[in-house]
Each structure stands twice: as C-alpha cells, then as structure tokens.
Symmetry: C2
C-alpha cells in the first residue's frame, strides 16, 4: 500500500469512526491543535476510566491519586490539587474514599498539623499493579503510530510546550 493509499485509508477510518466532522475539526480549523490535544485526551481517558470503574471500582480522581502516591509518597491533598487543577473538595472526597477502601493511609506532619501526608498501603500497591498496566497499554496503543524516532521528537516538543505552561497558566 503506497503512502498516499495509507493516508487515504486513515482519513476514511477517521470518518467512519468519528464522522466527517472530525476531518474538518482536526485538519481545517484555526483551533486544530487545541482540538487534537483535547480529542486525544478525551478519547484516551473516557473509555479507560470507565473501564477501571467497571472492573476495579476505581474512579478517575482515585486512580490519579494512587498513581501520584506511587511516585511521590508523602504527598498532601493540596499537592494533587495543584498538579491536576481539580478543586480541593474533589481531591478531599477521593482521598476519603481511598482511606475507606484501605488503599491509602494518612499520616501527620509534625511541622504543619494541617497537612496530612498520604502513603499507599499494601492493598493500594496491589490494586495499582493491576490497574496501571491497563492505562500503560492504552498509552502504548496511542503512541503505536509513531516510530521510535518520531516518538522521541514528539516527546521533546510536547515537553517543551508543557514546561512553558507557567507562561500562560495562572494557578487559582
């Protein structure tokens, strides 16, 4: 199949899956870059979090918290608010749910009695071992169309864009 044939097939697949409108929104609008990023984000997260909910009873905020704690034990709820942009009570409620489910434990901070450092429990680690591979597999599927070299380029450009966000994002 020639390169042109592949391109045509991809376009037809897009129209079949998402409708003819998708071709316009993703290719022919001034907002096509923002649209593509949101399009990817929406169709990546929607189904995977729905699946996690059905299979493990884990909500999106809960997974996000568990995954953050895997990589930085001792976080407080506010740290997670800052990195997700979610309101305090959403994170507070999800933390309460995770405590109740036994996936996290809450400590105290001798230097700041307001802060409540969180860590994963054994059960928390265990559920993550089951859940993370599903999200990783989906990320792998998302990246599959790019060669290793293209992915390295994409990584570099995306990182550059993200690390410039303090220039245009004002935290609440």
């Amino acid at each position: 199949m020639t390169h042109q044939d592949k391109s045509l097939a991809a376009t037809e697949d897009m129209a079949d899956t998402f409708g003819a409108l998708s071709l316009v929104m993703l290719d022919d609008t001034d907002l096509r870059h923002a649209w593509r990023i949101n399009f990817l984000a929406n169709f990546f997260t929607g189904p995977v979090y729905r699946h996690l909910g059905e299979k493990f009873g884990i909500t999106r905020p809960e997974f996000v918290i568990l995954y953050c704690l895997e990589h930085m034990p001792g976080l407080v709820a506010q740290d997670i608010c800052r990195v997700t942009g979610q309101p305090k009570n959403s994170i507070s409620r999800a933390v309460s749910d995770l405590l109740e489910k036994g996936y996290v434990r809450r400590g105290t901070d001798p230097e700041d009695k307001r802060a409540k450092p969180l860590t994963l429990t054994e059960v928390g680690w265990s559920i993550l071992e089951h859940v993370s591979p599903i999200v990783k597999a989906r990320q792998d599927a998302m990246r599959a169309a790019l060669t290793d070299e293209e992915l390295a380029q994409f990584d570099c450009l995306l990182r550059k864009m993200v690390f410039a966000m303090p220039d245009w994002v004002t935290p609440e």
Copy 2:
C-alpha cells in the same frame, strides 16, 4: 542566558506553578506522555471555559457546538456526539439551551424525520466572533514556546497520532 539556564528556569517555574510533583509526573513516569497530553488539555480548557462562562454565559458544550456549526452547518446532534465523545443528552440539552438563547436554529431533514439539522443564527455568528478569538489566543499562548519549524513538526506528529485513533478507539 544559556540553554541550560533556560531549562533550569523552566523547571523551577513548573515547580513554582504546579508543585514539585509535576516534575515527576511529567518527566519520570511511564505514563508521562498521556499525563502531558491530559495536563495540557486540562489546564487549557478549564480556565478558558470558565472565562467564557463568566463573560458570555457560554458553557463548554455550547461553545463546542457553535464552533462545529461554524465549520459545518447542517450538522445533527449525533454528529457532535461522535466527534466529542459526549453522551446524547448532554448535546441534546446544550442544543436546547442554544435554541433558547437564539444562537442556533433547527431544521428538518426530508429524508430522515428523526434528524434535526442545526445552523447558526446571526446572533450565533456574532457571539462566535467574540468568543473564538479568546480561545485562539489561548492556543497561540500554548504554542508560543515552539518555533515555526517545531510547530510544523509537532503538527505532523500529532496529526499522525490522532489519525491512527480508529486503531484503538472503539466508538460507543
């Protein structure tokens, strides 16, 4: 300022704005690509839609519908569901709100009496002329860190990724 100094400054800005956790989640995890895409999407859309809500009384679904109709008049609600992944009643309600606000009008399809083609009214065009530049400006800010050449590369890679989505996204 050397390249290394700039990189360090960007890292410090990220930690200041989003917390130290952001550096880990965006650079040192297996899910960093998915995380970055969602991070960009969340911090792009959250504030801009909040701003549109406050200034114009337009919700996110409403803007999405208006913007789609600008580019493809005559769409039906189901077309918008497919390209956004949103449930039917969310789009149905937003369409009702837009009808009530006078931003869209609803037609009939002689070939399918169930379908209700939508078009923008004069007022709809007008509100978009005010709203779109705000979203565009935010997209420009988001892209500002990339040179024209880098943006062309990013465009190409992002498009390749998005147009392969039918390989791993199953519509509902």
